[in-house]
């Protein structure tokens, strides 16, 4: 980062996207007015207002749920499963065809580097639809006995860190299993979901199968608490997850929650340092650290601590922070002023509590929301930066001496979403992996995702899985239910 423009910028053109000045809600196959005060969505890299987006009131959500119910009863529910699959294949292909447009729009609205939206978010989103399309007519083999039934109307609330990918994780399995959807995108990143609404139209998806109601927390609450919603799927903070679990208590609604994390990334002394450093960087700086499964706690075996930290700092010095649409950019903009304030506050607390803060030299752009990649050393397990989810490019480094200590420290958290292990010794990897209380364990890699691979947490990182055969079960009722 020392010389921000040491390469010539390689900007992805934004001319491919056509952002309308305002957007309505997508209900029953059409864009309609929303009853709430419109919200402005901004480009976090420039603070430029991109568009005004309608917000859904309780009445709008009710309209969307009714449309979803109608579609469930009349078209999508009774449809031949193979035909449902064909619609999903169509959507997958349309996403592939329009991938560049989606990627640019995602980077504009979210702030993530185009390299990631282009190479990770969009290919994976399309892959999720393609994968689930094939399941639509094979549900007898999901493991719930023959002819499992869809739950009905799924109310889905997704976060701002992977707007399009989280949409795909939610919508694809819901539709493949015969449910219809009311989706509430995140307040700060609604645009790709609204572009997805166009894709639904292009695919001739029957009206009401997918409804997209934009808005903030109130709109999300209205979706979750609507009495005619049968299934709630949420990805977001543990705090909101708790309130959802409370809200559905005593109802017939089934729930899956994919919540926060504070993953340990454990580096043993026999790990190849250069590979481990790449994994540490990918673990915490991928998507500006706005990742629930980010490897935010680095646990390094004491004997290699200095070597790993020095190598890590050298590598971070080469990361390029800046314009998300520049193909050279490694770290983009922080998604919102509010998130930047939270990251700033928690790192301030880290310094107050006595940890040593390190950031590379270099200047950040004048406008927009930015935070330098940050490494805290001398971190003790009781510090807030070792316990709280920062959700930003901030790494806390702790040490351990023995494998038992590594496991104890790694599990010393209320979260349990993911973990990483770096070692050359296979037997050690398998032993540590089995003792970590985490839903996804990456060994000698980090932050890999795939539609076939179940994702989700232990403990207060939530419950239920997304992806794979496991992810389908949340949207189906077996014979005994």
């Amino acid at each position: 980062m020392t010389s921000l423009f040491e390469y010539a910028p390689a900007l992805e053109s934004r001319s491919i996207v056509d952002i309308r000045p305002s957007y309505g809600l997508f209900v029953d196959g059409e864009f309609t007015e929303g009853g709430g005060t419109p919200l402005k969505t901004v480009d976090p890299a420039t603070e430029e207002v991109l568009s005004e987006v309608a917000t859904g009131t309780d009445a709008d959500v009710d309209r969307a749920v009714k449309a979803a119910r109608r579609a469930f009863t009349r078209t999508w529910g009774p449809m031949r499963p193979a035909d449902r699959g064909k619609y999903l294949y169509r959507i997958a292909r349309l996403l592939q065809e329009r991938a560049r447009e989606f990627a640019v729009l995602e980077s504009l609205d979210n702030g993530k580097p185009i390299r990631e939206s282009r190479d990770v978010d969009l290919p994976l989103a399309a892959a999720h639809f393609f994968y689930h399309a094939g399941w639509a007519d094979k549900l007898d083999h999901v493991g719930l006995g023959s002819s499992p039934r869809p739950r009905g109307v799924a109310g889905q609330v997704i976060p701002w860190n992977f707007p399009m990918l989280m949409l795909a994780w939610k919508v694809a399995p819901a539709l493949a299993t015969g449910n219809t959807v009311v989706l509430k995108p995140a307040e700060t990143t609604p645009l790709t979901a609204l572009l997805f609404a166009e894709v639904c139209q292009q695919a001739d998806l029957p009206p009401g199968v997918v409804n997209i109601v934009t808005g903030a927390g109130d709109t999300g609450r209205a979706v979750v608490e609507h009495p005619d919603v049968d299934k709630v799927a949420f990805t977001g903070s543990t705090e909101v997850g708790r309130s959802i679990a409370r809200a559905v208590a005593g109802t017939r609604k089934s729930v899956t929650l994919e919540l926060g994390g504070k993953a340990a990334n454990i580096v043993f002394d026999d790990a190849p340092v250069d590979q481990a450093v790449e994994g540490i960087v990918r673990g915490i700086f991928f998507n500006q650290g706005h990742v629930c499964c980010a490897g935010s706690r680095l646990l390094v075996q004491e004997s290699v601590h200095d070597e790993v930290v020095a190598s890590l700092q050298r590598r971070i010095g080469t990361l390029r922070v800046g314009d998300p649409l520049d193909k050279n950019t490694d770290i983009g903009a922080i998604n919102s002023a509010a998130q930047l304030a939270r990251i700033t506050e928690l790192t301030g607390i880290g310094e107050t509590e006595g940890a040593t803060c390190w950031q590379p030299d270099g200047v950040l752009p004048d406008r927009g929301f930015w935070f330098k990649p940050t490494v805290f050393t001398d971190v003790s397990p009781a510090m807030r930066i070792a316990r709280d989810e920062v959700f930003g490019p901030v790494l806390s480094v702790l040490t351990f001496r023995t494998p038992d200590e590594a496991v104890a420290k790694a599990n010393n958290t209320t979260y349990g979403l993911s973990a990483g292990i770096w070692s050359e010794k296979g037997s050690r990897i398998l032993s540590i992996a089995s003792r970590l209380r985490a839903g996804v364990v990456w060994a000698n890699t980090f932050n890999e995702f795939d539609p076939t691979s179940p994702f989700g947490g232990y403990k207060q990182s939530g419950y239920g899985r997304e992806g794979g055969r496991h992810g389908l079960t949340a949207y189906l009722k077996g014979a005994s239910e």
């Binding site: 708790r242 679990a245 208590a249 005593g250 060994a443 000698n444 419950y463």
Partner: protein, 289 residues
């Protein structure tokens, strides 16, 4: 031989951490048979007993979940063997508590033993049925396996005192979890006897803890307890169940909801009582030279 021998009566106590303590509160409550006649005084478990039981259950997690699936299966099968030997005693207690004829009580006990055997056989099949390898689009070996959630609080059914109890406890143990059970309040005696069976069947202390008492009194503490990972609300009436589900949300416990009416315990449960208390762990490793 004199036939007027004075019988030795049993003291009905809690089963906690592999031992048979009275309630720390010193409380007991009278248990009557289906016709209202006094049968015994049962220990009336307190909040502190529940807390002690959670401590014992937590301490037992590492050993029980870390045992091989084959070993857990053998230990659980041993429970069924010992239950078989106690079948007459179970049948008497079930007949008295549930007001069944001797034949129907015996049939219910037989079904309970058979169900226990069925679950014992699941320990080393779950991974194959619920786990597997995932064909990810990249050079990685990627597999998913089921793992126990940890400590599960079980509010056992109020009516079916043995078959119902076994139907909710055995799936928790078969999946490698440890259990804190609040038994049927009015019909607790088969649960006490089951505790004696567990204690003599190689089940490590703390793996299963059986508290006789009142779900409405202990349930809220278990639902809130930060060291309880899951809760089965089967034995809680609707209103209590809703309150408990709400407090369980505080620590995002896995919740198995009850039904308005007690389930038909003779029905095939499938995996429905095991999957709620299983987590799925997915492990990735690169493939390369």
């Amino acid at each position: 031989m004199s036939t007027d021998r004075l019988e030795v009566r049993k003291t009905y106590k809690l089963y906690l951490g592999g031992k048979f303590p009275r309630s720390e509160s010193g409380r007991t409550y009278p248990v009557t048979d289906a016709r209202g006649r006094f049968v015994a005084n049962a220990a009336w478990a307190s909040r502190k007993d529940a807390r002690d039981a959670v401590v014992a259950a937590r301490a037992a997690v590492a050993g029980w979940s870390g045992a091989t699936a084959y070993n857990r299966g053998q230990v659980l099968y041993r429970v069924a063997e010992v239950m078989e030997g106690r079948a007459a005693q179970f049948a008497d207690e079930v007949a008295a508590g549930e007001g069944l004829s001797a034949a129907r009580a015996r049939a219910s006990v037989d079904a309970a033993i058979d169900r226990w055997v069925w679950y014992a056989g699941w320990t080393d099949k779950l991974s194959a049925v619920l786990g597997g390898t995932n064909p990810v689009a990249g050079p990685y070996f990627d597999f998913s396996i089921p793992e126990p959630s940890g400590v599960v609080a079980v509010l056992a059914p109020q009516r079916s005192s043995l078959l119902g109890l076994v139907s909710v406890l055995a799936p928790v143990l078969a999946t490698g979890n440890t259990a804190v059970v609040v038994t049927s309040h009015d019909r607790p005696l088969p649960a006490v006897t089951l505790g004696e069976v567990l204690a003599t069947s190689d089940v490590p202390g703390g793996v299963a803890n059986l508290l006789t008492g009142d779900a409405a009194e202990i349930g809220p503490w278990l639902a809130e307890h930060a060291d309880v990972d899951g809760i089965d609300l089967t034995g809680a009436p609707t209103r209590l169940a809703m309150e408990l589900e709400r407090s369980a949300a505080g620590t995002l416990k896995r919740v198995l909801r009850g039904t308005a009416e007690e389930p038909d315990w003779s029905a095939d449960p499938g995996l429905s009582r095991m999957t709620p208390f299983l987590e799925t762990k997915t492990v990735w490793h690169p493939i390369g030279l």
